[in-house]
Subunit: 455 residues, 2 copies
């Protein structure tokens, strides 16, 4: 390790840090996943530098852990076996924007907001919005999604190609720029969601979209979670191209009203957004309103004005802070299950009953068009009894989702936190297949060891 650090230091100079504060910051995320600092942090600027570091680390069998903005939520970038954290945040060049092809290529450290600011005057945007201003490299690595996925897909659908440094130091570019290809194994999709365990992503090719001529957003109250979920199902089945459709439960509405000084009825509520032509969004909004009304929901109040929309979505985005402000002194703990939407109401209702039975505060917010919802648990970790109830609830939540043909994680990823649920979800054989891939591509287990599958 000392030798590896010395060689990297010779290459990067001051851009390799072993300062304790820097190491700590690169070894602990904002969740309650246990932290573990790396031995050093390399602030890289180019693919070649990453290649150099990986080659050195390969020689000394030293772990290499990619770091973007540090906003991931499953302990993805902790260094339980030490090693070198490769911080790509200075790799922030937008390499090319091909407006006619609706694609762009960026270095891995470019954040989604930086990309969108760059694109704005071209009339283009990149839709994937996980909330945090994450780096594109990190979003690709965790297969991120967020509120827009119901319309635009996740990083799975929106990454066209990747450049990555593999464990043996080779640089692979996974695809050229064609929209589709049947030319061999899908290396792009294999790296998307691999959380730095198969290769270190240094460049990302992404799909872009034209900024819609008209964006209409609104809120719609419902008498029950079931009615709200039924509205979502009917909306999607009718082919209404809803851009966002988010469920917030009563607990969240209460918190919004207090925190964001708005005045919503305290019932399960859908936040929706439509993208299209003015006539198109008006028609879509009207159709959605009728569906809601038939299910006893509504009135659906909608806003086409930019400031009204912003205020609405700001409240939604502040959900975390809104609920946190009601729970001073408690730590928040995010969950991320996703089920087929036909099972969503059932899953949410059982989950709420479980919360109530255990006296837990866990407001729910969901990307319900995808069947994905987050229970944000609040817990005082010094209270052993509460902690035990939270842990039991968490275990049951994930098992419930998988039993309903869903997944332990819709968008946050596995990291170290969800490894123990992988066999339940993918079977012993599926996890064995993942392990064989990991072994083949990283035989020394130097890339983010201890995440996804243990060798």
């Amino acid at each position: 390790m000392t030798q590896a650090i010395a060689e990297i230091k010779a290459m990067l100079g001051d851009r390799l840090s072993t300062a304790e504060a820097v190491r700590e910051q690169h070894g602990k995320d904002q969740t309650w996943a246990p932290g573990a600092p790396p031995d050093a942090v390399a602030f890289v600027r180019t693919t070649e530098e990453v290649q150099g570091i990986v080659s050195i680390c390969s020689s000394y069998e030293t772990p290499v852990i990619a770091f973007g903005t540090g906003t991931s939520l499953e302990g993805h970038f902790t260094a339980p076996f030490g090693g070198i954290s490769v911080d790509v945040s200075a790799m922030n060049a937008i390499i090319e924007v091909n407006a006619e092809d609706l694609d762009a290529r960026v270095q891995a450290g470019v954040t989604r907001k930086a990309l969108n600011i760059h694109l704005r005057d071209k009339g283009l945007f990149f839709p994937i919005d996980p909330g945090a201003d994450a780096s594109l490299g990190g979003m690709a690595a965790t297969r991120a999604s967020g509120t827009n996925a119901v319309r635009y897909g996740t990083m799975r659908e929106n990454v066209l190609s990747l450049t990555a440094v593999m464990a043996n130091g080779e640089v692979v570019r996974t695809a050229k720029r064609a929209r589709k290809s049947s030319a061999g194994y899908d290396l792009t999709r294999l790296l998307v969601g691999s959380e730095g365990t198969l290769g270190i992503i240094t460049e990302v090719g992404v799909r872009l979209y034209g900024i819609p001529e008209s964006i209409a957003a609104g809120v719609c109250p419902f008498p029950s979670v079931d009615a709200a979920c039924q509205a979502v199902i009917q909306t999607i089945q009718l082919g209404i191209p809803v851009a966002r459709i988010e469920l917030v439960d009563e607990e969240h509405v209460k918190a919004f009203n207090a925190y964001s000084k708005i005045d919503l009825k305290v019932v399960p509520t859908l936040f929706v957004e439509f993208h299209g032509t003015p006539a198109g969004t008006e028609e879509q909004s009207g159709l959605f309103g009728s569906i809601a009304e038939e299910l006893g929901g509504g009135p659906f109040t909608w806003a086409t004005k930019e400031e009204d929309r912003q205020r609405l979505w700001q409240a939604r985005h502040d959900a975390f802070w809104a609920t946190k402000s009601l729970m001073p002194g408690k730590e928040a703990f995010a969950t991320d299950v996703c089920v087929p939407i036909s099972r969503l109401a059932e899953c949410v209702n059982e989950t709420r009953a479980d919360l109530a039975a255990n006296g837990l505060y866990g407001p729910i917010v969901g990307h319900v068009g995808d069947g994905n919802f987050h229970v944000v648990l609040y817990c005082d970790r010094s209270d052993a009894a509460e902690l035990a109830r939270v842990k039991g609830f968490y275990e049951r939540l994930i098992k419930r989702a998988i039993a309903m043909e869903g997944t332990s994680t819709g968008e946050h990823g596995v990291g170290s936190g969800k490894m123990r649920f992988l066999e339940l979800e993918h079977g012993v054989e599926g996890v064995a297949m993942m392990r064989r891939i990991k072994q083949a591509l990283d035989p020394k287990n130097i890339l983010n060891p201890g995440k996804i599958v243990a060798l």
Copy 2:
């Protein structure tokens, strides 16, 4: 081999055939790729039978080659090293349709038309349409797409999960039914497009869509290929959700007029289709018409009536037979490059100039929304000089597409025919990565050996 066949015979009885005609039919596709018959053909009914066959073949290191409908175009199912062809066409059960979740699960032998007939009275459809009535297993294995991909994506986007028998005889189900997941490596996308070389697909989970309330289709003539491509770019950039947008060149129009008794102007022509509400498709058609007009195209004549639409798309689907009827005695040879759409006009124009310079007849048809186009070459293979010109053209076509940041194959796959272009497209490192994956998952090289990557 004899022993392997005897053991499989004991399991399947009459459903294992070594008849020459059956073997020939399972060893040669409709293209001019060289055929190579398997030693026996197994007509399987269940995943367990496939598992049994693969286990036996693994013991004896005998090749196993999956066979669906035999409609693939790159020699995918030939058996250059002999072995057992596993014909899944009798695995034709539709296992489940989850209307609320817009998904279905089928056995691998179910064809797309059979699925759509089953779905019709539920108001649902499966959009991927590669032309042939291919099996869903085969379509997944080759990452098929076709005319609808511009709107609905390819098999990459529309396969939710797969069940596959791996080389070691283990059965892997790659995902549950959630719309999205970040739970580990994307085994689904790794198997989609793997052409039977990593596992034998026995069940396919697919996305479904509601049948659109309104479908509008039409044709629009253009003064040049450039103008037509520019119309495509502007249409997509404006976010008009075109469902199909197909370019046919003058040669094709001539052939259509003769074969399908229609009367189109002999110029580059776009066939387009819109899906949506009646108001939506009317608006989309109007916007498209304005774009075409500004580029000197039009008039855009459109049809919402089912019979008019059918007649139009029938002509498009009969493209192959229409051109073939003009070239009696010649063999057809399909190509399949795909480039970024900004390069499409340039690529098509250079390709047409190349055809002309070499005195070749090669009408062009393209899924231009994706940048994918097919030159259908006609050749008398007994004419050595013509054959040499065709081969030279083919080589230049693929290199041209890759030089324009495109791919050697948009939707047909690699098979044995395009292996030699893979390194040009993915680099030595990319192909080495594919080879490492193949080695890890099929160390004895029994699954469709000699395809995609050679071990």
